[in-house]
Amino acid sequence: MLRGQKPSRRRFLASASALPILAITGHAQAANISGHLPWEAFAGEPPRPVNPMGWYFLTPAEAATVEAIVDRLIPADHLSVGGKDAGCAIFIDRQLAGSFGKSSRLYMKGPFAKGLPTQGYQAELTPAARYRDGLRALEAHVRGAHGKGFAQLSGEQQDEILAGLESGKIELKLAPGLSTRGFFDLVLENTMEGFFADPLYGGNKGLAGWKLVGFPGARYDYRDHVDKHNVPYPRGPVSIYGET
């Protein structure tokens, strides 16, 4: 089979599905269609909620570091739970174990050259590999500077390190082609994705992210409110699987 070609769309895993655990269901989809609309019942691909137990990509030590990071990026306060309790680390783990972590939909042919900022990310490493490398380098830096792991530091110390990664004050020893700021941005982006995505992906537990800003989630019908100008929307959020 040719690279990048799907055997059938009905067999194709939802690219955002966190885990490659779906059974291959195989009614072949006719490629030649004529004289009818080729509709079949139950042929859709509903997303599967992630299994909340255990770690699929991260090692326990890496997971502890990621949990500590997401809990500083989104700290617990009177507005919401923190990133850890919202499931952001679980979200990241499941994403890294799936299609996103493997860059499976991206163009990954060489040659790999150092690009201009307008050309986007050009290194060969996938998000999963960037986390592995970045977390290793972060742990090495923290142990060198503080004599213990990131997760063991105080919140204040952790904030200082994260701010250093963001500002360039700290340069991690990363694989060729990778930047410390790039690693920080990736983790921040994925943390926010987890906090605000549908909870079926493992984050946004209790709809914490949606409640924080007032996003009603998957409601899908606002005909009764569009012309109620400047009036707060009265209903709270609902998720794809009906959590409110």
Binding site: M1, G35, G44, R105, Y107, L116, A197, F215, V226
Partner: protein
């Protein structure tokens, strides 16, 4: 060795908007038509299922419905001095994939370009003198608005577009777009309900003497049955429109307007998950014999046909011509050749963001094309005599969605994370609105498309190379728009106003717009266009290239309305002229 298949009257590459329109028209004319589509079959009930369509991560962030770069990527650079590298993920623009094409996940704006947009070179030279436009590589399209009027009308009625006429047979109508060229009749359905932000914008704009109107939207304000007998539903303002398929049958797509009729025809066949590799020419090189394509198992086929229609996304149409050796590739150093010439984009970047206190904009109540717009500064609707640019922009206040992975406004100076960020985002989400300028994009010699010398696709064919930066003229235009936007924004008295400016260095990473035009342009002169006024190849007379690839310049408007009109225009030319007398419809 490719397996030879029985001949068809017509083979179409790509089953998106233009492929569906052409297939519908030509099967009605009695022709036997096959469409070859690279992506999968998609239908509303299955693929845009209401039970799980409102999933921002899956469809908007991970881009499930879009073309994956692993299937086809492109390389990019800002100018010929740089080395182009592949866009490893699509960012700045997001081409479609599968049946329905980009017509599945578009916003639904159905604009008519101004009459002057089709004769820009002649129009601007006459009004301001040829020297004013000498830095641009303008060409007329070889077709006029008046000729296309009924084609725009057909596409609006096919899609059920919701809007309000501003110029009915020459009579200006307040509340519609008074700058539009004359239309024969009003839109098929009335405008959508305006949300709070758009209503505020309209009130302010009117106060400034401007002419706001509701954008023409193919997100329908009420149920509608189109001329093919296909029924559509009322839009629910769900806020999952662009980047998503519509689960309500209320956004016009090939699925909701044409396919239920087309697919039942015995003289139509769709072959999905089949990719055209090249167009074959007869030995004389003046006509095409068919196409070679590969199915999902990797087997190659040769599909002979009398008429070949290139109906892919504009960029793919250009690449297919280059891969097939049809026409003369454009050379930016000499200015010779036509294929790849006059590639344009859309000049985004001018905008204002307004943050208020104590407001409830409910940004999640939106649709793709829910906006109030002014065309006072679009195209040549305003006098450029004393200005240092030509062109313009549609200025609009739209509410398309409040999906929080992508939409999390915070005031200037707010950190990106931590407790201060949290407090700010919680306060600002409901208090923020924006006004943007969608600017015209005009051709210059150095912006073009060709084949990349290094990077290959999964079949070993060269990727398309995009060489583009915003021309100085267009940046001066965009800066002027930033000034206009600031005036309007200030008049609304926000607590904080942030102005953004367009700048040099087109960046392929952040999303801007999927409005890539040109490269297989239409015109009256074969030395400056790839196809004639009927979208027929100058070089290969049984080949028509249909899409935004035909645009000689892009207007300050979303292109799909004009793409739809050109599709009907080409279909009529094939049916009424070409079938009666196959061969070149315009002499060279």
């Amino acid at each position: 060795m490719a397996r030879l298949l029985p001949r068809k009257d017509v083979v179409i590459m790509g089953l998106g908007w233009t492929g569906a329109v052409l297939a519908q028209e030509l099967t009605d004319a009695g022709l036997d038509v096959v469409a070859i589509e690279r992506g999968p079959w998609r239908d509303t009930a299955t693929d845009f299922n209401i039970g799980y369509m409102p999933d921002e991560l899956r469809f908007s962030v991970r881009k499930e419905l879009f073309l994956s770069p692993v299937v086809e990527a492109m390389t990019m650079r800002n100018n010929a001095d740089q080395v182009a590298l592949p866009m490893r993920d699509y960012g700045s623009f997001l081409p479609g994939h599968g049946v329905g094409g980009a017509g599945v996940h578009w916003n639904g704006y159905v604009w008519r370009f101004f009459g002057s947009d089709f004769q820009l070179k002649t129009h601007l030279s006459k009004r301001y003198g040829a020297r004013r436009v000498s830095e641009l590589q303008l060409e007329d399209w070889g077709v006029s608005y008046d000729e296309l009027e009924h084609c725009f009308d057909r596409f609006e009625y096919l899609t059920g577009t919701s809007g309000k006429a501003g110029n009915l047979k020459g009579q200006k109508i307040e509340g519609g777009n008074v700058f539009e060229d004359a239309r024969a009749r009003d839109y098929p359905t009335p405008p959508l309900k305006m949300p709070y932000a758009a209503a505020l914008f309209m009130e302010t704009a009117r106060g400034l003497g401007l002419h706001p109107f509701p954008a023409p939207a193919a997100n329908l304000s009420q149920p509608y049955v189109n001329p093919l007998g296909v029924a559509m539903g009322q839009c629910t303002y769900c806020g999952f429109c662009e980047r998503f398929g519509c689960a309500n049958y209320s956004k016009a797509t090939p699925q909701t307007t044409i396919l239920p009729v087309l697919m039942k025809k015995k003289n139509f066949e769709a072959r999905t998950e089949c990719e055209v590799l090249k167009i074959n020419l007869h030995p004389d090189g003046k006509t095409a014999s068919g196409v070679i394509y590969v199915d999902r198992s990797g087997e190659e086929y040769e599909q002979p046909a009398d008429i070949i229609l290139l109906c892919g996304y504009g960029l793919m149409n250009v690449r297919m011509l280059l891969l097939s050796g049809i026409g003369k590739a454009y050379d930016a150093t000499t200015g010779e050749g036509t294929v790849g010439r006059n590639y344009c984009y859309q000049t985004q970047g001018a905008g204002v963001r307004l943050i208020f206190e104590g407001k409830h904009f409910n940004p999640f109540i939106g649709t793709g094309a829910l906006a109030a717009v002014i065309d006072d500064f679009n195209g040549d609707a305003f006098d450029h005599s004393s200005l240092d640019f030509v062109g313009g922009a549609g200025i609009s206040c739209g509410t398309s969605n409040g999906r929080p992975i992508g939409y999390r406004p915070t005031p200037q100076g707010t950190p990106r994370w931590g407790a201060k960020w949290k407090k700010a985002v919680a306060e600002t989400y409901q208090n923020t609105m924006g006004i943007g300028a969608q600017g015209s994009s005009y051709p210059v010699r150095g912006n073009y498309l060709d084949l990349d010398p290094t990077y290959k696709d999964r079949f070993g064919r060269p990727l398309l190379r995009v060489t583009f930066d915003f021309p100085d003229n267009d940046l001066r235009m965009a800066n002027y728009m930033s000034g206009q936007l600031t005036k309007i924004g200030r008049a609304m008295n926000p607590r904080e106003l942030t102005v953004s400016h367009a700048g040099k260095g087109w960046n392929s990473v952040p999303y801007q717009t999927t409005h890539n035009t040109g490269g297989a342009t239409m015109g009256a002169n074969p030395r400056t266009s790839v196809v004639n006024r009927y979208l027929q190849s100058w070089d290969v007379s049984n080949l028509f290239v249909i899409g935004a690839s035909a645009f000689q310049n892009n207007a300050g408007k979303n292109p799909t309305g004009t793409v739809g009109a050109l599709a009907y225009w080409a279909a009529e030319a094939i049916r009424d002229r070409y079938l009666k007398k196959p061969g070149a419809l315009v002499g060279t």
